[in-house]
């Protein structure tokens, strides 16, 4: 009967309403986190800019380029991939975007041969995906995607630099989501190791280079500086990824909220129609019944009634 349908619809509307509340809350939380994450991205910029500049000045001052982190390997047998994803889902295509790009690069360059790649995964989502697909995972780090700290970056960079210096990998690529604006994020794959010479040794920005004094030697400083530079780059990538994650989640949750709203509207309409239908049917029944009674009253009374009157 119509009343049953009405009840079912009412229940569904209620569940969509509570869903909408949840997605709305997640949207607002993500939105507030974007701002914070963006601030962290810009707060981290001076350090990496300055450190790059120091390296440039060192190079201009004659620091050798023979450092192991700078040396291109003649033969690239094994490639390391660093994939930066989130620990949590519900962020639209954020995780799958990075994962897919990394997997495509891996397949294209190594053919999926486990001896030719090493995976360094950040975030639960990347770990789950690659382990489910039977990829060999070299190292995975979780619990740091939301608000990465510099210590996190150092921990990860240390593992990667060790693998590179020991020759387990001859090149390392970094796949992450670049935060361009709240509306735009882009998945990029960048060279991480060896550190690209061009990116640090192009001529210093302004005029002739000053004659620096070095303490200790330029090479001695470079030795200490390059690992910090690598850490700073990874840290910047992780911060970008975190900001992108929040932006992606905010967008996903906004459209989920909109969808819930739309569904509630449609269901409300259906429910109103069902209710009206049942009311109409009820009225029809009452009218029909009343009419039947009225018609009966206009007919002559039954015989037994007349007999009863006569006896009285």
């Amino acid at each position: 009967m119509a009343g049953g349908q009405e009840r079912v619809l009412k229940r569904r509307i209620k569940s969509f309403q509570s869903m909408k509340k949840i997605t709305r809350a997640m949207e607002l939380i993500a939105a507030s986190r974007i701002v914070k994450a963006q601030q962290r991205v810009s707060a981290a910029r001076p350090y990496s800019e300055q450190i790059t500049e120091v390296i440039r000045n060192l190079a201009a001052g004659g620091a050798g380029s023979s450092h192991p982190l700078l040396a291109e390997r003649d033969e690239v047998r094994s490639i390391g991939y660093v994939v930066v994803t989130a620990d949590r889902g519900l962020a639209g295509g954020y995780n799958s975007g990075v994962i897919r790009a990394a997997e495509r690069a891996l397949q294209a360059e190594t053919g999926g041969d486990p001896s030719r790649y090493k995976l360094f995964l950040l975030g639960k989502k990347a770990r789950d995906y690659f382990s489910y697909r039977g990829y060999q995972i070299e190292a995975s780090f979780t619990g740091m995607s939301d608000q990465p700290t510099y210590d996190n970056a150092r921990e990860v960079a240390e593992v990667i630099m060790k693998a590179f210096e020991e020759g387990q990998v001859d090149r390392v690529d970094l796949a992450y989501t670049q935060f361009l604006s709240v509306g735009t994020q882009r998945v990029v794959i960048r060279r991480f190791m060896p550190i690209e010479q061009e990116s640090i040794t192009e001529a210093p920005s302004e005029g002739p280079t000053a004659d620096y004094e070095f303490e200790p030697s330029p090479d001695g400083i470079l030795d200490r500086l390059l690992p910090r530079y690598a850490e700073a780059r990874l840290f910047a990538a992780m911060l970008d990824a975190a900001a992108s994650e929040h932006a992606a989640r905010q967008r996903a949750m906004k459209s989920a909220t909109d969808n819930a709203e739309e569904l509630i509207k449609v269901l409300n309409r259906q429910m109103n129609r069902a209710r009206q239908e049942s009311i109409t049917t009820e009225i029809m029944e009452i009218v029909g019944g009343a009419e039947a009674l009225a018609q009966g009253a206009m007919k002559e009374p039954p015989d037994y009634f007349r007999e009863h009157q006569e006896t009285a």
């Binding site: 350090y47 990496s48 000045n57 000053a210 004659d211 004094e213 070095f214 200790p216 910090r228």
Partner: protein, 126 residues
């Protein structure tokens, strides 16, 4: 001269100063106005920034210093201003290191102890 103390997460200090004293791996060094261009690797040390109206201290656990165009830029992946140091925690860490001196390898203990010392010194609690 302009002084900046920059950590990976943010700029800790930025301002005018009269003198900066710090320690590179080969010894103490002080920078005054118009110092010659200089790049150095820092030791675990206390950086003292003397300004017209006082002195700012920071604990720096390794890092780099660059001097150029009358600007001193100190880069350090672990740096703390005096006001940010938790004295109690630093003291505990120091005691912990001292207790475990014989269990750990020397370099680690030494570095840890020096870090704790520098922290306490900056916080003025030695």
């Amino acid at each position: 001269m302009q002084v900046e103390l920059v950590s990976p997460e943010r700029i800790l200090y930025s301002g005018e100063a009269e003198m900066v004293i710090c320690r590179t791996v080969s010894g103490d060094i002080a920078f005054l106005d118009h110092h010659a261009p200089f790049i150095g690797a820092l030791d675990i040390c206390v950086v003292r920034i003397k300004t017209a109206n006082g002195e700012e201290k920071a604990a720096v656990h390794g890092g780099f210093v660059e001097v150029r165009d009358n600007r001193v830029i100190i880069l350090s992946d672990v740096a703390e201003l005096a006001s940010q140091i938790d004295v109690e925690q630093a003291r505990q860490r120091k005691e912990e290191f001292e207790r475990n001196v014989e269990h750990w390898d020397d370099a680690e203990v030494e570095a840890g102890l020096r870090r704790a010392h520098v922290r306490l010194e900056v916080a003025g609690a030695v």
